[in-house]
């Protein structure tokens, strides 16, 4: 009973995480300029990965696996945060003007 409940919750989190990755990718394709695309990538992927990690933590078999998943999350967060800073910084330095309606 408890196991199937956790399994279901984990599945729901994994699917929700995938949905946010999908929305982030859609934003990457649909948004009009580099800055708005960075919004989509940083925020939607961060949330998507977070949900996937929590979903997988529920299925983890050992505390070491949980630690590993959380470290992966933190490393990806740091890397994507730094990458988005670099891309935005580069664009600003090249005086790429933000898209306006």
């Amino acid at each position: 009973m408890m196991d199937s409940l956790i399994d279901g919750l984990s599945a729901a989190l994994l699917i929700a995480g995938g949905a946010f990755f999908f929305a982030g990718t859609l934003g990457l394709l649909r948004f009009p300029d580099v800055y708005t695309r960075l919004h989509a990538l940083t925020k939607a992927d961060n949330l998507g990965l977070g949900l996937v990690v929590i979903g997988l933590v529920l299925r983890a078999e050992s505390a070491a696996d949980v630690g590993k998943l959380i470290v992966i999350w933190l490393l990806v967060l740091t890397a994507s945060g730094a990458a988005s800073q670099l891309v935005a910084n580069w664009s600003l330095a090249r005086r790429i003007r933000p898209w306006t309606r």
Binding site: F20, T36, H39, T42, K43, A44, Q85, A88, L92, R101
Partner: protein, 193 residues
Amino acid sequence: MPPDAAAQTHTETGPPPAGPPAMHWSAPLLAVAGRFVVFLFLWWLLTGGRTDAWLFGAGSAAAAAVLPLLVEGPAATPARSALLPTLLRLPLLVPLFLWESLKGGVDVSLLALRPRMPLAPALLDYPLRLSPGPAPVLLASLVSLMPGTLAVIDGDRLRVHVLDATRSYDDDLARLERRVAQVFGIKLNGAPS
């Protein structure tokens, strides 16, 4: 009593402790060693303790540990004294981080899914009241997770790209800046309150 007093004066007149120079030569070395240990631990964690590729892991950890020294020079080694309390206070930001991540992710996802995306982007400047260092970096990262804002550090200001220029973000930014200052245990420059 007299022996105590004698002992007291003795320690007081003893040679003064060697005044530490602005930065001891060992500080950058300690920083490299510390980073190496942390990266090695990460490698160990990520590989699940397997030893097949430890040479590659140790090499990568060593390269990553030395790299900041090559890029920034030894002068950039930060003061270690304030690091521990800051690390201990960092969990204070976790609820805020999770909540803003959720709001920001849902917000931008809904925007991307709407047939006509209601975007009204603009580039704003937010004058930083945090001194340069790791604090503004943390602030910029948090601001970039908030709904509708993306921040880049530019000297003593934050350049904030917003998706909806019709609303004001100043209060949110100031609130986050205060939280970050709290975590680092530093005062904001020219803070009114």
